[in-house]
Symmetry: C2
Subunit: 313 residues, 2 copies
């Protein structure tokens, strides 16, 4: 009788709970076929360049698993990806000519409508947890399934600020979220404050120790108990597709953090620098393509260039 092989599953450094989708994108020059989309895909595409990543999400029977092979090859653990009866979340959108705005043409939630994240047992104690911009009640459910996470980061968006603000505030005030990602509009919607720095301070007072404000093409800043750290964007001359750049920014930042043994103030500053650099690669290709075949050398070269072009002597 053969001995049963017991494979001990390894806890990833970083776990991400978010959407896994297919996107159809229209830009001034191109209409794509269904391409890989969803916050968990964009995030893990970036984060897996730095550390081991596990994702929790749901897809339908139509999901083209062969197209995420490159993520498997980078060691992304898909144990938390459920395949449900139905279709994968589909989003179709059109960008304005200069990418300054976009409109949704179609949203078909498919199996994502019933998403109820179940955290695999070997995902329950990662160093870093990222709650992408899913419904606040689902974010809360995930927080109740994990334990002893060194850094919990949360993202959100307008729909949840408009419709689930109570739950969102409950999470922020629970003390369980250490870092929050917001863009400039979200700061204003969430706090009613027009000055971004003051708004970020209000969010910090709600609970999270670190507040990252993403200003898109205008850079970002990090507010912590050590003060303020501001970075301009890495300049990109040809934007191809901004979809997922925010998730990739978060993935670069948290992936770098999860790869470090200690979290100093300088670790967070470097992480923000990595977020900017990764975000700049991301907009240079459709969907995940901007980071699909990127070399460590190209990443490091751009990081050094970024350091140099932002250093006030």
């Amino acid at each position: 009788m053969p001995r049963k092989t017991i494979i001990k599953k390894i806890t990833p450094d970083l776990v991400c709970v978010g959407s896994v989708a297919l996107d159809i994108l229209h830009t001034a020059t191109v209409t794509t076929r269904k391409i890989l989309g969803g916050s968990a895909i964009h995030f893990s595409n970036a984060a897996s360049l730095f550390c081991s990543v596990g994702i929790v999400g749901t897809v339908g029977e139509d999901y083209p698993h062969e197209r995420i092979r490159f993520l498997h090859e980078r060691g992304v653990d898909f144990s938390g990806l459920e395949v449900g009866a139905g279709k994968t979340f589909l989003w179709e959108g059109r960008y304005s000519d200069d990418f300054s705005s976009r409109e949704t043409i179609r949203t078909e939630l498919g199996v994502f409508a019933e998403f109820n994240p179940k955290i695999p047992s070997h995902f329950k104690k990662p160093r870093v947890l990222f709650l992408a911009a899913i419904a606040p009640q689902l974010q809360l459910s995930v927080l109740n399934q994990v334990d002893d996470v060194r850094l919990v980061a949360l993202d959100t968006f307008k729909l949840w600020i408009d419709t689930r603000q109570d739950t969102l505030l409950e999470i922020l005030e629970s003390g369980k979220v250490h870092l929050v990602f917001v863009n400039d509009d979200e700061v204003r919607w969430l706090t009613g404050e027009r000055n971004l720095l003051k708004g970020a301070r209000i969010i910090q007072e709600m609970g999270p120790k670190w507040v990252v404000v993403k200003k898109g093409e205008h850079g970002s800043f990090l507010l912590s108990d050590k003060g303020l750290f501001m970075v301009p964007p890495f300049p990109v001359e040809e934007v191809v597709d901004p979809t997922g750049a925010g998730d990739a920014f978060a993935g670069g930042m948290l992936g770098y953090l999860a790869s470090q043994s200690r979290f100093y103030d300088s670790t967070f500053r470097r992480a923000l620098g990595w977020g900017s650099v990764i975000g700049s690669f991301y907009v240079e290709g459709f969907g995940p393509d901007g980071l699909k075949n990127i070399s460590k050398t190209a990443l490091s070269a751009r990081y050094r260039e970024y350091q140099k072009m932002t250093q006030v002597p």
Copy 2:
């Protein structure tokens, strides 16, 4: 018979040719009386913190000379300020609540309508010359009166891009202007290019070696033959009045440059840093007040804070 005392007039490090005006400003909370305005005043207010400055401009018989005593005390040379028969240039404007836009209520050009800059003989060879956003034909006339200037910098604005683009391009292409200040809209109007970095490269190809793009609350960048240098803004929590902040930014930048014996790439980077810091003080008071009683200690402290908050480790 008393001996005639001959005072040899000293050439200032930096000469500025621009408007000298009185402004009436309306913000969400305040309406001012007539306060000091005009590009030459805002510029010299900033630049005189770093080096000796001479200004060339024109005012009417109503100009309150006692109110620029603080600039005389800082050594600003007003030999180039003509007093004409008539009234001083008056501008009245209203800012939107969040200062994101402003409308002109009244423009009375007064003696400024006949401004024809005459450069005093001891102003003809400064290290640095700043041509504020006056009519391009006047900028050209000034360029024909000076000689052997180490660094000529030029500012402009929409009116001249719309109505005097030919003269403006003639100046830029003459090779006599080394550095140009433009804001984001001006880059687009002047080049038709929506990507700011590409637009700045087009302007650089016209002639100026250095192009400074001011993005207001989103920071600025400097394009030179050494590459790109980007800085975020120094964050200001309470904007009181943005009037003159662009001129003060230019004054801080060029004042610092004029105070330095050599122009290295790092000198320009520091200068851009000083421009940002000076601009941040400027918006904290009405008209010139933000820099009126500022100490060297306060300036240096903010510069160091700025270095620290922008350093990507």
